[in-house]
């Protein structure tokens, strides 16, 4: 008798059952779909929202296969791309400019699969088509901006203390202040460190013997500025990508100073680059609280010296025309907790601080607003010629009462729980932007994506079929067991990838194939061992037992070393290579599990119960 412990067999069966359920959605494939969201940010709720579009489409004889609402977005799935595109036109024509309509893919899985929250592996850009952009943030430029800001503040500070200086020069890593009179050095140092106590000041002399103070940013400050620049751009790009309404779009930091943007299904690269290339800024202004903004909106008569704005929920706000501080003067904004209440901590540069001090002193108790301004350059036809026009969108993102006199550091309070983070993000996005450049741009057409899927799947099917045949011929019944185990391996791998939400790429398909090719090795090691044991004259039961035991160390060592390669690949790879590394690494783990536990369970089930076996079909 050679039984495998029951609990191990049950564990294997249990894991495989779970894997089967998780892998199930992948079986149905995907179909073209539209995903709708409202441009004003409101969410779709309930069946009525869905029916509204369904009725609209059915009236035009464009019939969606299925439609549902999820996370405030309506998804309509169609049989083919022409229907999908026709439906998009119908919906856009029904209410121009109201909806963000994204062309995408939706799973063909039936309702009950979706209701279980099960999702198929998402497809990478190389399989689905779409645009991949990598932006590089000029972190050096960002640091330079900080230095230039310091330069302005130093001029202000030295002038304020009546210290005469010859020049203030900005170098790559710091500033050099040259004084007229060496006797003022200590005074100057005090004034300079009052502006920013964190910088390093070193006294020196220039070529002409004039006293200088050399200022350099410390490492933490440089890093803080660089991180700020990258975070700022990620937020800004994230906002604009969201506005595109593309489902499964992603904006991710890549390495030290890059941002990767993935837009599946999108095909117009120049349009996307234009939309993502907007610039943002901020304006702090006083609110005209005496006039009635609603009246002004209705009558169209705006009081003198004011301008009408709207806040994020569309309510009108009247703001004074004078700008107190702009985004260029904002140096940092972070969301914090102030006595348990969400708050946003704002820092301004010296000039901004002085303006703010003057304004708050005169307007204590009055409301102040922050306007977020986004500009983009659009090409417009004018008299037959194309002209570049700057179009801006302005929105009030915060209105708060001035509760005290403050200068370059203050807090915005009275926010709801998630508002704090959102406001801090927007404020950062509106600060002086660090320059970005596109360093990589890839566009994969939808036909190539489908082509890649078809060919990848074809290679997978042919390769696996040939392999299964070979194993069955070479090892007869044990070969069939190995095939079942391989199949379990692929199912488990698919389940894991679906669970992690990993995107399947072409190298990913190659990774699955390589896993299949290498997973048989574990079985072969075991079977060859069993054969050796049989040759030595051992009984079949003893041979099976010894075969598994003796093959274990080779299987473990061999797979751990391959896993090392997979993990390093994951850490260093980007994009599709990362996908390959994920599949390779997860594949090794599923291989170990299925080859050791699965094979043993199945062989135990088939041959373990018999008291004696005349001949092992290996």
């Amino acid at each position: 008798m050679n039984r495998y412990p029951l609990w191990k067999s049950l564990l294997f069966a249990g894991v495989m059952l779970l894997a089967l359920v998780l892998a199930l959605p992948n079986l149905f494939g995907e179909a073209p779909a539209l995903q709708l969201s409202r441009k004003d940010g409101q969410l779709f709720v309930g069946q009525t929202a869905v029916d509204q579009f369904r009725d609209l489409l059915v009236a035009d004889k464009v019939i969606p296969d299925t439609s549902f609402v999820q996370q405030g977005r309506v998804t309509l799935r169609f049989a083919d791309v022409p229907t999908q595109l026709k439906a998009r036109d119908v919906i856009e024509a029904s209410a121009p400019g109201t909806y963000a309509i994204a062309t995408t893919f939706a799973s063909r899985a039936p309702e009950w699969v979706r209701s279980l929250g099960l999702k198929p592996m998402s497809l990478g850009l190389d399989l689905r088509g779409g645009i991949y952009l990598v932006y590089e943030v000029d972190v050096g430029g960002a640091v330079k901006q900080t230095l230039q800001r310091l330069e302005r503040d130093y001029r202000l500070a030295l002038r304020g203390k009546n210290i005469q200086y010859d020049s203030i020069e900005v170098s790559a890593t710091g500033l050099i202040v040259t004084l007229r009179d060496a006797s003022h050095r200590e005074e100057a140092r005090a004034a300079l460190s009052a502006v920013d106590p964190n910088v390093t000041l070193v006294s020196g002399a220039d070529a002409n013997g004039l006293a200088t103070v050399n200022i350099s940013l410390n490492e933490a400050q440089v890093r803080q500025r660089q991180d700020f620049a990258i975070q700022q751009n990620i937020t800004a790009l994230g906002n604009r990508v969201n506005a595109l309404g593309v489902s499964e779009a992603s904006v991710q930091r890549q390495g030290a100073n890059r941002i990767a943007v993935q837009l599946p299904g999108v095909q117009d690269a120049s349009e996307v680059v234009r939309l993502l290339g907007k610039t943002a800024t901020l304006e702090f202004r006083l609110v005209d609280h005496e006039a009635n903004a609603f009246e002004a909106q209705q009558s169209g008569h705006v009081p003198l010296g004011t301008k009408l704005y709207k806040d994020r929920s569309g309510r009108p706000v009247l703001l004074k025309r004078d700008v107190i501080v702009t985004g260029e003067q904002l140096t940092d904004a972070t969301s914090t907790l102030q006595q348990g209440e969400p708050a946003v901590s704002v820092r301004l540069d010296g000039r901004g601080g002085e303006e703010m001090l003057r304004t708050t002193r005169e307007n204590l108790g009055k409301p102040m607003a922050v306007v977020f301004i986004e500009r983009e350059r659009q090409l417009r036809e004018q008299n037959g010629a194309k002209v570049a026009v700057d179009v801006s969108r302005e929105e009030v993102i915060s209105v708060a009462t001035i509760n005290g006199v403050f200068s370059n550091q203050f807090q915005i309070t009275g926010l709801a729980a998630r508002e704090g983070q959102e406001l801090a993000k927007l404020l950062r996005a509106g600060a002086l932007a660090a320059p970005v450049y596109i360093v990589e741009q890839r566009l994969i057409g939808p036909s190539l994506g489908q082509d890649n899927i078809d060919k990848g799947v074809r290679a997978l099917v042919i390769g696996s079929a040939a392999l299964f045949l070979f194993m069955a011929i070479y090892y007869s019944a044990f070969g069939l067991v190995a095939n079942v185990v391989l199949l379990c391996n692929v199912i488990l791998l698919t389940a894991c990838l679906s669970l992690f939400g990993a995107a399947l790429t072409l190298p990913g398909i190659a990774g699955i194939m390589l896993t299949v090719g290498m997973a048989v090795d574990a079985n072969i090691l075991i079977y060859e061992r069993i054969r050796e044991e049989l040759r030595l004259g051992n009984s079949p039961h003893a041979a099976i037992k010894a075969g598994f035991e003796k093959a274990l160390s080779a299987i473990a060592d061999a797979n751990v070393t391959t896993l090392i390669a997979g993990v390093v690949l994951f850490l260093f790879g980007t994009g599709p290579i990362k996908g390959f590394a994920v599949v390779l690494s997860v594949g090794i783990l599923t291989t170990l599990f299925t080859a050791l536990m699965g094979s043993r369970t199945i062989i135990g089930l088939l041959w373990g119960r018999r008291a004696t076996i005349a001949r092992l079909p290996v």
Binding site: E136, G255, A269, S270, Y437, I438, V439, E440, Q441, R442, L443, G445, S447, L448, N452, R458, A459, L460, I462, G463, A466, L467, F470, M471, S476, L506, P507, I509, A510, M513, L514, V516, G517, M518, V520, D521, I524, L525, E528, R531, E532, R535, S553, A554, D557, A558, T561, T562, L563, I564, A565, V568, L569, L571, F572, G573, G575, I577, F580, A581
Partner: protein
């Protein structure tokens, strides 16, 4: 079915010196080929522009080249890609301040003059700095992988085995890269991934042989180390061949049916697997043997009895 009904008795280790020579020639040849020919690096590494376009009929490469030269791209390279209908247009990296969209739009327009129904299947614009970084990253990944594997093998076996395994492992990518240098087939990101997979696979193979050596040393007390290594390779030979066949079946399918995008990947793995088979037998075992692996390296340490124990 069985290839070997009893354990074969090939004397692999006797031929190891000749194989060292062959291996050295391969590595030197590979480096020479890379030096002379250079690798045909894809835009992934060099930066530049790639446009894949599908024409309705057979593409006229000369005409396409001529039209693109007239459009203002004298450095353009045009080749067939996959089929006679598909072409791949390649340009060197763009200068500073040139918009990627402008270039792709202009090339698209030029191609449309040849065939109004031309389908742009993919465009890739990669900045030169991205490519350079990727290359450095790839080499770093390669070195780290090799180092970690050396540590693991040294820990699980002995350092002599570690050195053998690492030399065998470094040997295999040379073979793959050499083949790409000689044939001039494009070396892209997926080929790099394949090379790294070959490294993992190479180690995998070496470990299986070493595992058997480790097992045999205690039971073959009277045999010479060379005999132990030979026996280990012979005993695992059947498995080595079957595993190779199994993996090759899959990889060849990938090469033949996976389409143009996976062809390089498939080829790298085919070459890699063949190289691995050879190197795991000769390079890894041979080096471990010549570094003086002997019984004492792998024997369980005998318990020492204290001398002062006896009265």
């Amino acid at each position: 079915m069985e290839f070997f009904h009893s354990v074969p008795r090939f004397r692999f280790m006797a031929a190891r010196k000749i194989c060292y020579l062959i291996s050295i020639l391969i590595v030197v040849g590979s480096i020479a080929a890379e030096g002379l020919h250079g690798l045909n690096l894809a835009v992934d590494f060099t930066g530049g522009v790639v446009i894949e376009a599908g024409f309705a009929g057979v593409a006229d490469l000369d005409k396409t080249r001529a039209v693109l030269r007239e459009t203002g791209y004298p450095d353009v390279a045009v080749q067939n890609f996959g089929s006679s209908h598909d072409v791949l247009v390649r340009l060197p990296p763009l200068g500073e301040g040139v918009s990627a969209n402008d270039v792709t739009k202009r090339i698209e327009g030029a191609l449309r003059t040849l065939d109004p129904t031309v389908q742009i299947r993919r465009t890739e614009v990669v900045g030169p700095q991205v490519g350079k970084e990727l290359f450095v990253k790839g080499v770093t990944a390669l070195c780290i992988t090799v180092l970690l594997i050396l540590i693991y093998i040294a820990f699980r076996f002995r350092w002599k085995f570690g050195v053998g395994a690492v030399l065998a492992t470094m040997h295999d990518p040379f073979v793959v890269v050499g083949v790409f240098a000689v044939t001039g087939i494009t070396f892209d990101l997926s080929v790099l991934a394949a090379v790294l997979a070959v490294i993992g696979y190479s180690i995998n193979e070496t470990v299986v042989v070493f595992d058997r050596v480790r097992e045999l040393f205690p039971v073959m007390r009277k045999a010479t180390p060379a005999e132990v290594f030979d026996r280990a390779i012979n005993e695992t030979l059947s498995r080595t061949i079957i595993t190779k066949v199994a993996t090759l079946i899959v990889v060849v399918a990938l090469y033949l049916f996976g389409g143009e995008a996976l062809r390089g990947f498939g080829l790298a793995l085919i070459v890699g697997i063949l190289a691995v088979t050879y190197s795991s037998m000769y390079v890894a075992s041979g080096v471990a043997l010549d570094l003086g692996s002997a019984h004492r390296d792998l024997m369980p340490s005998e318990r020492r009895t204290p001398i002062d124990d006896m009265p």
